[in-house]
Symmetry: C2
Subunit: 195 residues, 2 copies
Amino acid sequence: MECVVRPCRAEDCVEVMRMIRELAEFEKLPDQVQINDQVLREDGFANDPFYRCLVAEVPPEYRSRDGHTIVGYGLYFFTYSTWKGRNIYMEDLYIMPEFRGIDLEENRMNLGSPGICTPNYAGKGIGKKLMSKIAEIGVENRCIEMKFVVLDWNQAAIDFYQSQGAVDLTAAEGWHFFHFKGDALVRLAQGQTGL
Amino acid sequence: MECVVRPCRAEDCVEVMRMIRELAEFEKLPDQVQINDQVLREDGFANDPFYRCLVAEVPPEYRSRDGHTIVGYGLYFFTYSTWKGRNIYMEDLYIMPEFRGIDLEENRMNLGSPGICTPNYAGKGIGKKLMSKIAEIGVENRCIEMKFVVLDWNQAAIDFYQSQGAVDLTAAEGWHFFHFKGDALVRLAQGQTGL
C-alpha cells in the first residue's frame, strides 16, 4: 500500500482537527479539546506559525470506512534546551485505528490492533513513517533531541516508542510536567499570585 | 532594591550561559550542558530564533560577590497544544543563590535560602517577577497555558510553583516525558530503528 507522508496544507485542518478529537477520546480526555479547525488553521498557517504538521495520506481505494484518505498526522514544533541546544518536540502522533498495524512493505494488514502500532509491525507502519520524518526534519535543522509526552497507562504507545530507542525521562531522571492554565496563568501575568 | 527584568541581548549570552551552567550544577546534572555561549547566541539571535529570554539585572551597587549584575534569567518559547491552542513554555527559570529570597518591595534580604524562592517570599522576589513577565508575554500572545518541567526532588521549586497556582500534570494525569537523543534520533531519522 502506498502511503504518502506530506506537509499538512491549510485545507487539511478540518481532517487534522477530526483526528485531534479522535486522539483525545482515545486518551480518555475528550473534554480537553478547546480549539476548532479555524483556530488550528489560523495558528499554523499565518506568519510565524505556532506549529508544523505532517499528514499521512492513502490512495482513494484504501480510504477509511468513513471515506477518509488522510488517516494520520504528526504535529511538531521546534523548541530549545539550554543544555543540548535545538530541539524538536512531537506534540501528537496519531494513526486512525483501522490503519494501525499495517506493514507498508509487505502490504499486510493487522486490523484492530491496539495502540499506535503493534510491536510486530513497529518500524514498518504509518506511525513509524510519520515519526521518522519528524526526526529527519529535526536532524536537518541540527536538533540533537526530540521530546514528547505519553500517558503512563498507554503501554502500547510506550512499548512502541521504546522499541524505537526513546527514553522515559520522568522515570530515568524524575522530570515532572507542570502547567499554569487559564485563570491561573492570567493571575500570574497580573502579579496576583502568591503570598 | 530596583531589579529590572528586560529582554536578553546578544551580548548577554555569556552571562546567561554562566547561569545555565550554575543551574545544571544545582540540578546535579552538570555534564548535560553541551552548548556554549556562541551556540546560544546563534540560536537566539538569528532569523527565526529558537528561544526567547528575559534577564534580571540589578544596579551595580547590588552586584554579586563575583561582580555580576545580571543575576537571573527566564528562557522561554512558544509551543502548541492541539487541545488548548497556543502555549508558552518556560524552559528555565533561574536566580543566583545570593539573590533568592529577596523581598523587592520591602528591600529585605534572606540570603542563603534554599530553592528558587523561599515560600515566605514567593510572590515578591526576582523569580516571581521573571515568571510573571513570561506569563504576561504568553497572555499577550493569546496563550492559555504555560508549561514547564521540574525535577521531582526539587521540593523548594515545586512548592514555589504550586504556591503560584501551577499543577503537576505528571501526578494529576500521568504524563511522562520522553526523548530520543543523539544517535537514537539519527537512527530514527534514517529509518533504522525497530524490528
